[in-house]
């Protein structure tokens, strides 16, 4: 029961912080600073980001309470303030929670003051999101590795999550952009989506490279690559293998989007009727989102297991 609660909290926390950061970064790299499209996109996403800040603060705190309970061997309902204080003062996880809370509050302030100070708010959101995401490196296996190796492990873990966040945020951004409307998507909207998709190509490649490199480093530090064959026998190894297969599926879908569906959408957006091309790429991105969601659920689960 507690296990399921912990996994649910981890999933919600990873998803909320990754979407928050990824959506904040999206307008910053797809278009020039201060471009009209930039403001248009940021304004479209900020509604979701307000919710994500709230959700992040909520599940982050719930996570700390549940962890405090399991560490003290008591039920979550009987966690005393004194125990929480001990966690904040004596453990890295507690300190990470404190930093994450401050980062999420900064992000929330940015999201709510968005209409008045757009440019600063957009940058603040992205920076605070990255900071909040980085604190999650202390909540998994990377938090337990010691010394210099531990520092390398946490940096690698943080980069892994930031790259994944940028990819996930882009997926969410495209689904928001291409959300079906009752009277069909306006051609302007489709043209904007096509241009952003085109710009994302390069950034997406960088994300994949960073995810692969840091994933290898993490695997070495947690499992030891020479043990990779043996670890297939454990639940941890099997879940990791499923994660890798889903990552492969995401790569295949991303390749189809980049080299087939995006050019088709760009070509169609010049013509009168582009709704079919938009529907095709929407389906493909939705499949990518489903794979990404499953990966997050797997990570939320096997991060709690012994490798």
């Amino acid at each position: 029961m507690t296990d399921l609660l912990v996994i649910g909290i981890r999933f919600a926390l990873y998803a909320a912080l990754m979407l928050l950061t990824g959506l904040a970064a999206f307008p910053l790299y797809t278009f020039r600073r201060g471009a009209r499209e930039n403001r248009l996109l940021a304004a479209m996403f900020v509604r979701f980001q307000r919710w994500l800040c709230g959700l992040g603060l909520l599940v982050s705190t719930a996570g700390l309470v549940v962890l405090t309970a399991t560490m003290h061997g008591v039920a979550p309902a009987s966690v005393a303030p004194e125990m929480l204080r001990t966690m904040l003062v004596e453990t890295d996880v507690g300190a990470a929670w404190l930093v994450r809370t401050v980062a999420l509050l900064v992000a929330a302030i940015a999201a709510w003051s968005f209409t008045r100070r757009r440019r600063i708010a957009a940058t603040m959101l992205a920076v605070a999101g990255v900071a909040a995401l980085t604190t999650l490196a202390w909540s998994g296996h990377a938090g337990a590795t010691e010394g210099l190796t531990g520092t390398v492990h946490r940096i690698s873990d943080a980069l892994h999550m930031i790259a994944a966040a940028i990819w996930l945020g882009a997926i969410a951004a495209f689904l928001i952009l291409l959300r079906p409307r009752r009277h069909g998507l306006p051609p302007k909207r489709i043209a904007l989506a096509a241009r952003s998709l085109d710009r994302f190509g390069r950034v997406g490649t960088i994300c994949v490279l960073v995810i692969t490199a840091t994933g290898l480093v993490n695997a070495q530090l947690i499992l030891g690559l020479e043990n990779a064959g043996r670890s297939i026998a454990s639940t941890y190894g099997q879940l990791l293998l499923i994660k890798l297969l889903l990552f492969g599926a995401m790569l295949a879908l991303a390749a189809a989007n980049r080299w087939r569906l995006t050019p088709a959408l760009t070509a169609a957006s010049i013509d009168a009727d582009s709704s079919r091309a938009a529907a095709a790429i929407r389906r493909s991105i939705a499949a990518e989102a489903a794979a990404a969601g499953t990966i997050l659920a797997l990570v939320a689960w096997f991060g709690t297991l012994e490798p």
Binding site: M71, G73, T145, L209, A213, L221, L225
Partner: protein, 127 residues
Amino acid sequence: MNKWLPLHLAAMLVLASAPGTALAHAKLVGSTPAANSAVAKVTTVTLKFSEKLIASTVKAELVMTGMPGMKDHPPMKIPFTSAMGKDGKSMALQLKRALVPGTYKVKWSAAGADTHRMGSEFSFTVK
């Protein structure tokens, strides 16, 4: 792709240099009296751990499980005051008076910095 070369080189360097590290769960590495030993005049039970424990998470219990000449002795809790060692890696159970002859069991559980709650138990005999 050439500009990604430094990144890949760095990754390879880390892969080659870092050993697959074991995770540091707290475990009992020693005690006085030692597990399964037979000793006399016990006024303190000391437990030594592999990792630093978080003091507020520590739970310990000492029970007398057998007494010479008494069959089916029900487990009896022995009161003590506990104190963590300065380095957080040891704990002393200070007894009010020396233990009477019999068999005893110590149970402990606690969480270390890796946030995992661990625990074990061991027995010893007082002559």
